[in-house]
Symmetry: C2
Subunit: 500 residues, 2 copies
């Protein structure tokens, strides 16, 4: 059994306990791990590290770099053990969010394509230790990654030492799905030779080598995949608007019935959109995205989607069983790439990706806040939304028109934090309707967003703001600066954006 997982007997003497591996991690280190959208992240070593920290008096602090979000065994356990000094580039963990917003953890919110790039260029400091979850280690000491690729190839390349968690709960059949390619640094960078989403351009393993491996830990803790968000009525309506928008694009000749590669975030709206695509007349679809979830696997099952490229696969427990059973069917229909490639501007613009992402709030001029609640409180992070939006064929943001039981309008005079600017956002969709902003000036955008996307309860307030703003001195992007963020301030004080 183990010889299948660790294919060089020289490596067997590096097998150790999670605690022994955790003891390699010292105060002040930059620790980089596998993991992308709770999948394929190390679990045993961080749990052991958190336990160690509680048992010893000598507090340690590390900077923790990952691909994207990871499970509670990593972010949660280390956050609660007060070990994380600095964290990048994305997270979805309650405990980590709490220490971030309390000011106890320095969080860097980065474009996911930038993370491996900046790591290679030395902008994020030296990587002391990489901890990578794997299904196997090859004879040469190379790593067969588990359910996510993320930034692991670059972290391994740049790390002084590598700890590998062989996770026996992860299907060995994943071998062959990864396609690892690391662009060289300038001035030696060459074109990334992907011209179709299913092009394979790299190796099936993460290059590492025997000497770099400092410890191997065997574990069977399962990926703590979040359950699929249920499709509610609002998400359903947003999905219908989106499908109708795409249909009109086909009618207008700007898309064909096969569309173009689709990128779709995660969550209730994304699931509704994928379900909507499943029922639509579109055919032979392909995805060039980050995360492959159950809902996408189902579209592959029915051949609605012919192919999906991502950087992680996050099946549910039942989904994982089906995935294992039908691995031969899936093998030539899925590629897992490093996030530098899945999210690379070069590839996204070349392929003409239709980018569908979720906004926290949108303002009347088309700026989008994806990250910070009321301007200051980190939700998750920008993730890949910037990589895809800026370079998309069509960039789409969805959001329910209200939040907090209708006390918050997701359409506001000015967003309280800017992640995507007026220069990048093409289409905004709420359950109310679609604002197609392409070719519109700021004032035209405001009219379209207020009319088509705002909730009727807030529409008169937005019209009133916009009309009064237009009486100001400069009318290119009319604002009343004293009032632009007053809706948020009101919510902070009174628990509602409503005036009475």
């Amino acid at each position: 059994m183990l010889s299948n997982r660790i294919r060089n007997s020289k490596l067997l003497n590096k097998v150790c306990t999670a605690k022994e591996a955790a003891m390699l991690i010292k105060d002040g280190m930059n620790v980089a791990t596998s993991g992308f959208t709770p999948s394929g992240y190390p679990k045993a070593v961080p749990l052991a590290l958190a336990k160690l920290a509680k048992e010893t008096k000598n507090k340690i602090k590390i900077n923790l770099y990952t691909g994207a979000s990871v499970g509670d065994e990593l972010d949660g356990a280390l956050a609660r053990a007060d070990i994380i000094e600095k964290r990048l580039p994305y997270q979805t963990n309650k405990s980590l969010r709490e220490i971030t917003n309390r000011g106890k953890c320095e969080f860097l919110d980065m474009h996911l394509s930038h993370v491996p790039h900046y790591t290679k260029l030395g902008f994020l400091g030296k990587i002391d230790i990489a901890i990578i979850e794997a299904v196997a280690i090859t004879k040469e000491g190379h790593i067969i990654p588990s359910t996510s690729i993320g930034a692991s190839p670059t972290y391994v390349k740049m790390a002084d030492k590598v700890i590998i968690e062989i996770n026996t709960s992860q299907p060995p059949q994943l071998e062959g799905m990864a396609d690892i390619y690391i662009p060289k640094n300038p001035p030696y960078t060459r074109p990334i030779p992907i011209v179709m989403p299913n092009d394979r351009i790299g190796t099936e393993y993460i290059p590492c080598g025997i000497d770099k491996i400092a410890a191997i830990v065997i574990t069977d803790i399962k990926d703590n995949v979040r359950p699929l968000a249920p499709v509610d009525e609002t998400s359903q309506k947003i999905s219908e608007h989106l499908i109708n928008f795409l249909k009109r694009e086909v009618e207008e000749g700007r898309l064909t019935n096969e569309l173009l590669p689709i990128q779709s975030g995660v969550g209730s709206v994304a699931n509704a959109v994928l379900a909507g695509l499943g029922k639509s007349d579109f055919e032979n679809l392909v995805c060039y995205t980050e995360v492959i979830q159950d809902s996408m696997l189902e579209l592959i099952d029915t051949s609605k989607v012919l192919f999906a490229s991502g950087t992680s696969i996050t099946p549910s427990i039942e989904g994982l069983e089906k995935f294992k059973e039908n691995i031969k069917f899936y093998r030539d229909k899925i590629i897992l790439r490093p996030q530098e490639i899945s999210n690379h501007p070069e590839v996204i613009r070349r392929l003409g990706v239709i980018a569908i992402n979720t906004a926290v709030e949108v303002d009347i001029y088309g700026n989008v806040n994806s990250t910070n609640i009321m301007g200051s409180g980190m939700m998750n992070g920008i993730g890949g939304s910037g990589d895809f939006t800026r370079n998309a064929y069509i960039s789409i943001f969805t959001t329910p028109s209200t939040a907090k039981n209708g006390e918050i309008s997701s359409i506001v005079p000015m967003v309280s934090h800017h992640d995507h600017t007026e220069h990048d956002v093409m289409v905004v969709i709420t359950e109310q309707g679609v604002a197609d902003l392409r070719g519109l000036s700021p004032k035209e955008r405001a009219e379209s967003i207020i009319k088509n996307c705002a909730h009727p309860d807030f529409r008169p307030m937005l019209i009133d703001y916009f009309n009064r703003a237009k009486e100001g001195r400069d009318k290119h992007i009319p604002h009343i600066l004293e009032e632009a963020l007053s809706w948020h301030a009101r919510f902070m004080k009174k628990g509602t954006m409503r005036v009475k």
Copy 2:
């Protein structure tokens, strides 16, 4: 003479007056022209159109698309004649700025790389007429562009009809400097085969064809090139900080003494930076930029810069004479590309461009406003700063720490308009110093920017804001929303951001 300029005798019967050509332009048309950073834009036809509009009762309105900024004969004359309904993507003209900010012209502020791309995809509507300045027309009816390429190749490709202005004041020696390449639309897009800034990948002419040419106008009106902004003391200091920053990057091993391709905007700071590079120890430099000005030609003269790729060349009147005389020397040292290529994310990231752009204001968390004064008043536009910044090897923004004789702080609690977000800005430089934001969390960025970049007069106010903001509920990006834009509001009311 003319046979050199118009090389197919069939085309001679299309030669007409500017007025006759202008009469082809009808109400409601989308008119797209050559021109990028006042060079190579049509002059005779727009002047004739403006004159026509004043003489006739039937008012016409057009949407005017260009490469970037154009001279007063186009933007100014048409703005004053009240002909422009909608304008994109960039401008620097006083009259146009005035009607935009008065709300009399709908202005779309776009990433310059997006303009040809979106035109091809049909997102900006049909191009009815393209007006292109040329030095010659080939036998096949193809266009030898003058001093700018901009979006001309795509405008010609997508236009129903093309009007060509042969400008005899433009040196015919420009022929051979253009390198025209238009990527195909997805799903047929292929890698752009540039791996070095001096790679030639296309044709020396803009493909057009005889049939598409509706009119040819002969003119000799000179490019209305703006004089080089003088290097003042503040710009000088900023330049010194920047050169020292780059030296440190070399010392740290993140750059070599040849640096990487440089993109530099226009204006006083840009001139000071280029002058600083001229005096520095860096050598064998190359530029991958938008505009090639006198200051860059001088660096080529001294072999400090070996090669420059841009989308326009804007020599002064004396610079133009020198350029003509030494054309053989310059020929293999300059390439002019379409702005889709000069500004393409794929190429910029591949080459590892060092992007140096100017900010109107920067906030303590590293967000940059490049465009809108006090949030509402358009200055020029985002131009290519977004294309370069997001994809740069190192992205740098420069700004004097104060404006309006010290009444405005360029470092503010929150920028009044967001063009570049915290996710994209690596380095901020004022005459006060350098804030290197790479790897810093928002709060760390605030400390660095306030300490290194803010003017001492405003530093205590910024520290006070930051400290009080940190007492709020959420501390990831601490803000006091009621106060975040109050500095701007105060300036609007009292003419100063100072408190007393």
